[in-house]
């Protein structure tokens, strides 16, 4: 996919919203990968406060669903919004999640908490993969069973690390199709 040469506000497709105390290098890496891999013009917004409204004391974690709800409720902004947090997030039924998103919707949240590694490059790599996976869901793509597709479900870091930073042919085709339909830009890869 070719990246656009010039980013203007009018061309932005996704708001990247860092929240709380966060490694901004990781946020930049995420933005760059969304740009390169998916062709999504990404705007990094100023850092927002930690989403305390989503905190559940008895679990010591943040409810991903509540964060999504809040993101989706933002009236202005661009078609997609991705929040990046460094706290541990959960969905009610699971012990933890790497990320959470609305299938075919506009809001997604990813956590750097469980993606941390002593190797920084690996941490950033994991963050980028989680982000692209969740954006795949925003584009309406479900989990893929093709080996080596980033839309495959990862329930642990080992699996996440084994996945490449790309979709399989079918998911790639689907992603492009959805993006063309959403943004209707002839130049969009």
């Amino acid at each position: 996919m070719k990246a656009k040469q010039h980013i203007s506000v009018e061309d932005t497709h996704l708001d990247l919203i860092p929240m709380g105390r966060i490694d901004m290098t990781a946020v930049s890496v995420i933005a760059a990968n969304l740009q390169v891999i998916l062709g999504l013009n990404t705007q990094i917004l100023p850092v927002q406060p930690e989403p305390e409204y989503a905190f559940l004391a008895r679990r010591g974690q943040y409810d991903g669903g509540k964060i999504l709800h809040a993101l989706a409720a933002i009236s202005d902004g661009f078609p997609f919004r991705l929040a990046v947090v460094s706290v541990d997030i959960f969905t009610p039924i699971l012990t933890f999640v790497f990320g959470e998103s609305q299938l075919g919707g506009k809001a997604a949240v990813i956590s750097l908490f469980r993606a941390k590694s002593k190797n920084r490059e690996q941490s950033y790599n994991r963050a980028a993969k989680i982000a692209i996976h969740e954006i795949g869901h925003l584009l309406g793509i479900v989990h893929c069973r093709t080996p080596d597709c980033l839309m495959g479900f990862s329930n642990n870091l080992e699996k996440l690390d084994s996945l490449p930073l790309r979709f399989c042919q079918s998911c790639e085709f689907e992603a492009r199709r959805r993006l063309r339909h959403l943004f209707d830009k002839p130049g969009l890869p």
Partner: protein
Amino acid sequence: MKSSTHIMVVDDEETICEALMAWFVKDGYKVGTALSGEEALKYLQENNIDIFLVDVKMPGMNGIELLSRIKEKQPEAAVIMMTAHGSIQTAVEAMKLGASDYLCKPFDPDALSLLMERVMMQKTLQKENIALKERLLEQQEEAADVFIVHSEPMRKIFSTVDEVAPSSAPIFITGETGVGKDIVARAIHLRSQRSYGPFVAVNCGALSESLLESELFGHEKGAFTGAMKTRRGRLEMADNGTLFLDEIGEISTKMQVVLLRVLEEKRFLRLGGSRPVSSDFRLITATHRDLPPLIKEKQFREDFYYRINVITIHIPPLRERQDDVPVLADHFLKRYVEETGKHLEGFTQKALEYLISYPWPGNVRELRNVIERAVVIARGRIIGTEELKFLDPEKLPCETSSVTLEELEMIHIKSILASCDGNISHAAKKLGVNRSTLSRKMKQYRLTARN
């Protein structure tokens, strides 16, 4: 395939239902939710659910009660119990009632993922098993030529088959060569309680005594020259199934003695073996020979005869049940049309009359071969007597029974000319007239030597 798998989440907490729904929808499943057991059962009335995730603790109908109600209505559905407060007692109770698994909330993503994979695999195997069993039955029915039943004698035989099939009593089938004794034997096997077991057939008339012995009993490695490895015999292969010994009238009295002992003890030794082998099979035998006279002549043992002849089914020859001929002919026509891809629609009335009146010394087998040949050589869409000419030509009915004398003469001259390849002299000789008479007739009917 996931997209066709229907999951139902039943939990009184809406957030749990929503979260699980979002999770499974992303995994490609079709998902329904219910906030109570009652709502779930209502949904089940109108939908086929493959997998349930059911919360144990719910107001009103609890999860355990819902589990047993689900199992009543849809026993093949997989039910996974969920609880926030797991207890071993509840888990055991749930598993006893047929739950597939038991999970404590919140789930480890790994555990949920592995569990769903396992349950999906079980469902797939279950569906495959049912489909394979159905296909096996279909293939067996096809292979058995779907036991054409039309004439009164065959209806009686079919009725007897239905009565005797479920028992284990030995059955003795008699009838001329080609009447379908093997088909009746298969039909009995398919309708018996051993239908999922093997059907092992041996043609006793096709093998020499020594070969038959080896075929039936098997042999150990080194039992004789050439026995490079141990081989199971047909008696052993028929264990839990049916053994069909065709042409039983051909076996020697020595073999009859050996078989009699096997039938009584249900045990035998392989050739060269010392360890007895057991085999539990249902015996069906068949012969085209009339055995009672052979018993009188000491060519067949009376004790063996009474051992195999507990129930007798006699299949009359095809000429004694002419009503079956058109039905069988049509059945074989359809089969060979499908095999050859030819567009054939049926038979002419004359052809059918011929088929019905033909004596069929080879019975159904001969009829099948005739139809196959007719399909292969047919040029039009209908099989007429032309395609059946290779049968006894003297039995060919006159196609001109409704034509004038003149027309009859013309057709006959035409036919003889064709058989003489247009040679007028030869044709005249065959017709018993001189050449000039034939030429005059040809001019009269506007026939040429090649027409």
